[in-house]
């Protein structure tokens, strides 16, 4: 269905939004909150808010872009609220994979542990990006990250939020932010290496 056609439908019957954009918005939410029930709720709130604000949407953007914008706000609100609740706990999230990569003793601590240093990936990056398997691997690797690490990483890399906005939303210190991003990237890199590059599906 073309955007113009379903834009028309949407204003006649908002329930058509659900069939047209429900799955996309749900996947969008799931990448960020990893909880089905919560993702469903956020998508429902998004549609209801969209219905209320229908008049403000004068077709400046594609309906999906408009809905995603609303959903993004809902997700940020959710992070803000849930971060307030957990702010007294350790908020760097879960076991620290990134720290196991480096030696802690010996004459020169802080070097790559034998066998855990980054391996040659082979193939060109642009080829990898073209492959469906790469994205499947990346998706499942994102799921292995501790929740808070994944949220911070996605906010930064996927949603292009800057670090000041992220530290405020997630209620973390600046220092904690650098540490969390480092851990998220290190763990993702290692997971991709294992699941994509060494699983024999990269070539």
């Amino acid at each position: 269905m073309s955007d113009a056609a379903n834009e028309h439908d949407a204003f006649v019957d908002p329930t058509a939004w659900v069939d047209e954009y429900g799955d996309y918005l749900f996947r969008f939410a799931m990448l960020r909150v990893k909880n089905e029930e919560l993702a469903n709720d956020l998508v429902q709130e998004t549609f209801l808010a969209a219905l209320k604000g229908k008049e403000t949407f004068a077709g400046q953007s594609a309906p999906r872009t408009w809905l995603v914008g609303i959903l993004k706000h809902k997700i940020m609100d959710h992070f803000r609220k849930s971060s307030r609740e957990v702010s007294l706990e350790t908020n760097d999230g879960g076991p620290v994979e990134a720290e196991k990569l480096f030696t802690t003793d010996g004459p020169m601590p802080g070097h790559w542990v034998d066998g855990l240093g980054p391996k040659e990936w082979g193939g060109s990056p642009s080829e990898a990006i073209e492959k469906q398997e790469f994205w499947h691997a990346l998706q499942s690797c994102l799921k292995t990250l501790p929740d808070r690490l994944a949220q911070v990483f996605v906010l930064r890399e996927l949603d292009d939020a800057d670090h000041t906005e992220i530290t405020q939303t997630m209620n973390i210190s600046q220092t904690n932010y650098w540490v969390m991003m480092h851990r998220a990237r290190a763990q993702l890199r290692q997971c991709l290496e294992k699941n994509f590059y060494q699983g024999g599906i990269s070539s």
Binding site: N40, G110, P118, P125, I129, L158, H163, M181
Partner: protein, 103 residues
Amino acid sequence: MSGEKMTVMQRMMMVVANRLPNCQKTAELVSESMDRSLPVGTRIKVWMHLKMCSLCQRYADQLRFIHIAVHDHGDRLLEPSEGTPAMSNDCKNRIKRALRESS
């Protein structure tokens, strides 16, 4: 004497190497440099470490690749696939009901 000179050179190299961040610190700084620009002195130290350490150079390259993939092509993470759960029909119907009730 050239022997003496070498010792001085070696000593200078040692001083430089000792002042450079180790691999763990370098990995942290490489990540940080992707979110903000580091002070010039730190940037030079990271650069020197990467010049001397092929593992960390590889790490930096791979991290940059992951950044480009996610940042520039991240939409592909939203394509439907076998692994990703879809919204259930029950839920869709629930939302439709809610929409009808409030319209």
